[in-house]
């Protein structure tokens, strides 16, 4: 009898839904994604305009927000079904997040910010790894600089290093070049992709910037993926 080998996707989303209640009391569907899957090491860019629910979608994947329904399987664990402390643990263990505004802690040095990326997981803090990541992103001489002492591009690199500090299986990037000029943006995307590849992390990036999107082989339209956005458009 022939054996059947099935590959489990690293990220597997099924019928994910999230709605908010408007000030007028009406329920507004923000995210309604029937299906999306990412294999380990895969790099996918989602094209989406501002207000299309991209950030909410990424927050659902990261477990920062709880889904109303649906499943978000990350490496076999359903993020949407986990209690909050377990979602926190899964996020700290398996995921890295790059924010548009970098979200570095101003009272911490570049090195400390990267260390924070591995501080809340189960393993021990690996400062040499944090140092190596900063060296990899070209900040060997800025380890002990505070964010205010770094340029915008350098802050972005710290954010990239931090997202990879916990050796994540999945990196989520939310408009990571939104605050960069085109040249720095191109370099940042190339760096993010390279470092994710080197570390074996899958990458799911959302952006509305065509210059960014054209650097990816696999670009999908978030507006088409998110039925809620589609419904809003039809309604309007």
């Amino acid at each position: 009898m022939a054996s059947v080998i099935t590959f489990m996707a690293l990220l597997d989303i099924t019928d994910l839904r999230k709605a908010y209640r408007n000030p007028d009391g009406q329920r507004a569907e923000v995210v309604q994604v029937p299906a999306l899957a990412l294999e380990a090491g895969q790099q996918v860019a989602l094209r989406g305009a501002s207000g299309s629910g991209k950030t909410t979608f990424l927050h659902l994947l990261a477990g920062i927000l709880a889904a109303d329904s649906g499943t978000v399987r990350i490496d076999g664990q359903d993020m949407a079904a986990l209690a909050e402390p377990k979602r926190d643990r899964l996020r700290a263990t398996a995921m890295g997040y790059i924010f548009q505004t970098f979200n570095l802690l101003q009272g911490h040095t570049a090195l400390d910010n990267v260390v924070l990326g591995m501080a809340f997981g189960p393993g021990k803090v690996d400062r040499p790894h944090a140092r190596a990541l900063l060296e990899r992103v070209g900040l060997a001489g800025k380890l002990h600089h505070f964010p205010r002492q770094l340029s915008t591009g350098q802050q972005q690199r710290v954010a990239v290093a931090r997202a990879l500090a916990n050796r994540p299986k999945l990196v989520l990037a939310d408009e990571p070049t939104g605050n960069l000029d085109p040249r720095n943006a191109r370099e940042a995307i190339a760096l993010i992709r390279e470092v994710c590849r080197e570390n074996g992390a899958a990458l799911l990036l959302v952006s509305h910037d065509e210059d960014v999107l054209m650097q990816f082989d696999d670009v999908r339209d978030f507006t088409a993926l998110n039925q809620a956005a589609h419904l809003r458009e039809v309604a309007s």
Binding site: I64, E84, D88, R91, F99, N103, L105, D112, V125
Partner: protein, 393 residues
């Protein structure tokens, strides 16, 4: 990075707030320590001094005033007693030692007291000698008085009439300092001693009072003798007061001013509570500024209880820093207070002698601070990550 690392960086990031809050705590802690230590040490010091003599004999009046005047050289004298009374008590078989003292003059605020060399039986001379003869114009100075007055062996002075500085006139009698006592840590240290006859026959003093004394300090052979003399002078006689036992009278004094202690303690408690509240307010007010940092930490995987613990630990750390500094504040305040007490009473307090308040006050304050951190910690616990990550416009 561990929670202590987060706390340390937060304290460093909010350095000004950290310093101001820790200072407020240090002042409160220092005040608490001072109130208790000075109260306890002053009482101990007064009681220790009081045990040098068992009783004081003086003219009819308040026992407390008699003790304060004759033992601590505070307050005004009661009326005088006759030298014959002194001779009578001196010869009494129950009395081991009787020391006459005569007051009425001062030297730049330090009392000039007439006595006999037996007064210094348990004291040592740091320099010079005792006076020779009952009427020699010679003086022996207590160590504190000598230092404050800037007098040494060979110095000369004229006493001023009255017990306080700025008396009506300076006597013509001229005295030479022939000895300086080694520190005794008792009121002896703050007195300018001269022969008792010197005071009695001082120029300008009432000649009719030349055979009078201010009081007689008495060491008894046994406690039972004290009760016998108490009955003899206080109940059967009506001319003299026999203040006995001195230690109990001093203890009664502290009992009478107990309400003042309690008020001071209450004030200190309130200051402590208010200071702990400043920790709450300082951290709570900074929570809005920290909203984003807390959201970032949560996004990085920090659990709610981790943030709760970090904020409580930060409040606790502020308490620990403040309490460590409070010992410095205490050291400064207590030195000033100790100097005032020594100047006024001659009593020396040992501020660094162990007192339980040195344990429970810092522990109590740190606990209060930790409790003060709970409210902002709850705010941290409830951080809305998604909202906190959104840049504020």
């Amino acid at each position: 990075m561990t929670i202590p690392g987060l706390v340390w960086r937060s304290l460093r990031q909010h350095a000004l707030s950290t310093i101001v809050t820790a200072l407020a705590l240090a002042l409160a802690g220092g005040l608490l320590l001072t109130v208790w230590v000075v109260k306890t040490q002053a009482q101990k010091s007064f009681t220790d001094v009081a045990t040098n003599f068992d009783a004081v004999l003086g003219a009819r009046g308040s026992k407390l005033q008699l003790v304060l005047n004759a033992v601590f050289f505070m307050e005004a004298s009661t009326a005088n007693l006759k030298e014959a009374d002194y001779e009578q008590i001196r010869r009494h078989p129950a009395v081991a030692r009787a020391i006459p003292i005569a007051m009425g003059d001062n030297l730049r605020g330090y009392r000039v007291v007439g006595t006999i060399p037996a007064m210094f039986a348990e004291a040592e001379l740091a320099a010079g000698r005792l006076w020779e003869g009952d009427e020699a114009p010679e003086a022996v100075l207590g160590s504190f008085a000598a230092r404050q007055l800037g007098l040494t062996v060979g110095s000369e002075f004229n006493p001023t009439h009255g017990l306080a500085e700025g008396g009506p006139h300076e006597h013509e009698d001229h005295y030479e300092v022939v000895g300086v006592l080694a520190p005794t840590n008792t009121p002896l240290d703050k007195v300018v001693w001269i022969p008792v006859h010197g005071v009695q026959h001082m120029d300008g003093h009432n000649a009719a009072a030349a055979d009078e004394l201010s009081a007689v300090l008495i060491k008894l052979r046994s406690p039972a003798a004290g009760f016998m003399l108490d009955a003899m002078f206080n109940r059967q006689g009506n001319a003299l007061t026999f203040a006995y036992p001195v230690a109990t009278i001093v203890a009664d004094l502290f009992g009478k001013i107990g309400w003042f202690d309690r008020v001071l303690a209450l004030v200190a408690y309130l200051v402590g509570v208010v200071s702990a509240a400043t920790v709450l307010v300082a951290i709570y007010n900074s929570m809005s500024a920290r909203r984003r940092d807390l959201a970032i930490l949560r996004a990085l995987g920090a659990r709610r209880r981790t943030l709760f613990g970090a904020v409580v630990l930060e409040a606790t750390a502020l308490g620990v820093i403040g309490m460590a500094a409070s010992f410095g504040v205490f050291a400064v305040i207590v030195q000033v207070v100790a100097a005032v007490i020594r100047h006024e009473t001659g009593a020396v307090i040992d501020p660094w002698a162990w007192h339980p308040v040195m344990g429970w006050a810092p522990l109590g304050m740190v606990t209060l601070c930790a409790l003060g951190g709970v409210i902002p910690a709850l705010k941290a616990y409830r951080t809305d990550v998604a909202a906190g990550l959104t840049p504020e416009s």
